[in-house]
């Protein structure tokens, strides 16, 4: 798993490549919380189009990002969900809780 950040205006886009599982979800969590809590970036966008698999610990990291962003009144957005990532949010009954878009254009113009 690799995670890198792009910054535009008030937005940070995290490009994630590879599966998110127990081996690396702490890293995702850390990057998200730093961006939301410490940097107070108004809009944090996760590009998941290169992520095939997300496990329950990965979902937990995303939920932490979402909760942190609600705490500081910022936005937390996902796009590019693979079938497996979509399923896992559905199984967690979280698909409707997150702001989810198909692609980057839609995510950024939202």
């Amino acid at each position: 798993m690799q995670i890198s950040a792009r910054h535009t205006d008030n937005t940070t886009i995290f490009d994630v490549t590879g599966d998110i599982d127990l081996a690396n979800s702490p890293e995702v969590r850390k990057a998200l919380l730093r961006e939301v809590r410490e940097k107070r970036t108004p809009r944090v966008v996760m590009n998941l189009s290169k992520v095939r698999y997300i496990d329950s610990s990965g979902v937990a990291s995303l939920v932490e990002g979402l909760k942190a962003s609600r705490d500081v009144n910022s936005r937390f957005i996902l796009f590019g969900l693979s079938p497996s990532a979509r399923e896992v949010l559905q199984l967690s009954r979280l698909l409707k809780i997150f702001e989810v878009y198909d692609n980057e254009d839609q995510a950024l113009s939202s």
């Binding site: 599966d19 599982d21 127990l22 081996a23 698999y53 496990d55 329950s56 610990s57 979902v59 937990a60 990291s61 939920v63 932490e64 979402l66 909760k67 079938p83 497996s84 399923e87 896992v88 199984l91 967690s92 009954r93 979280l94 809780i97």
Partner: protein, 163 residues
């Protein structure tokens, strides 16, 4: 190779065994098991969504063993047996059984429960994923070994999917 071992699970090629994996409890190896399971479930004949379900269930069960049975220690032994099982009376097609074995302390079965899903909070999702993905999920203590047994049938009955 051909004798039954102490766990009563027979090695490769006896008794429907398709694949046995031995690994240590390092989360870095989760992707390796997924890589094998994605292909094995395809060879077995599952649809793409069912392949993802079985792979996810095995991954989450391994994650739980690493976190809860072994408390994050990365050098402990895990065995994964994948076998073909004959249909039950209520099932029309063969099943895919995964037996996960660890040497951690015995598990209190009453603790094997996920949290309620109507809260938004991290954690407590793994067992839900496993139960929602599989037709049968069982825990058993055999000697010093914890055994988690997961089964998915090729044409799952509708009743067993509504859990």
């Amino acid at each position: 190779m051909r004798q039954r071992d102490t766990k009563g699970v027979s090695p490769a090629s006896d008794d429907g065994l398709l694949l046995k994996l031995e690994l240590c409890s390092d989360p870095k190896l989760l992707c390796v098991v997924r890589g094998a399971l994605e292909r094995l479930t395809e060879v077995f004949g599952f649809s793409p969504p069912d392949r993802r379900s079985v792979t996810r269930a095995v991954d989450e069960a391994l994650t739980n063993i690493m976190r809860h049975a072994y408390n994050g220690r990365t050098d402990q032994p895990i065995e994964v047996y994948c076998r073909r099982v004959r249909p039950r009376v209520s099932e029309s097609a063969d099943g895919f059984e995964i037996l996960l074995c660890d040497q951690g302390p015995a598990v209190d079965p009453s603790k094997l429960r996920g949290r309620r899903l109507d809260e938004i909070k991290p954690g407590g999702l793994g067992l839900h994923f496993i139960r929602q993905s599989m037709d049968a999920v069982e825990y058993q203590r055999e000697g010093n070994t914890n055994q988690f047994r997961l089964v998915k049938y090729l044409q799952p009955s509708t009743q067993s999917r509504s859990s």
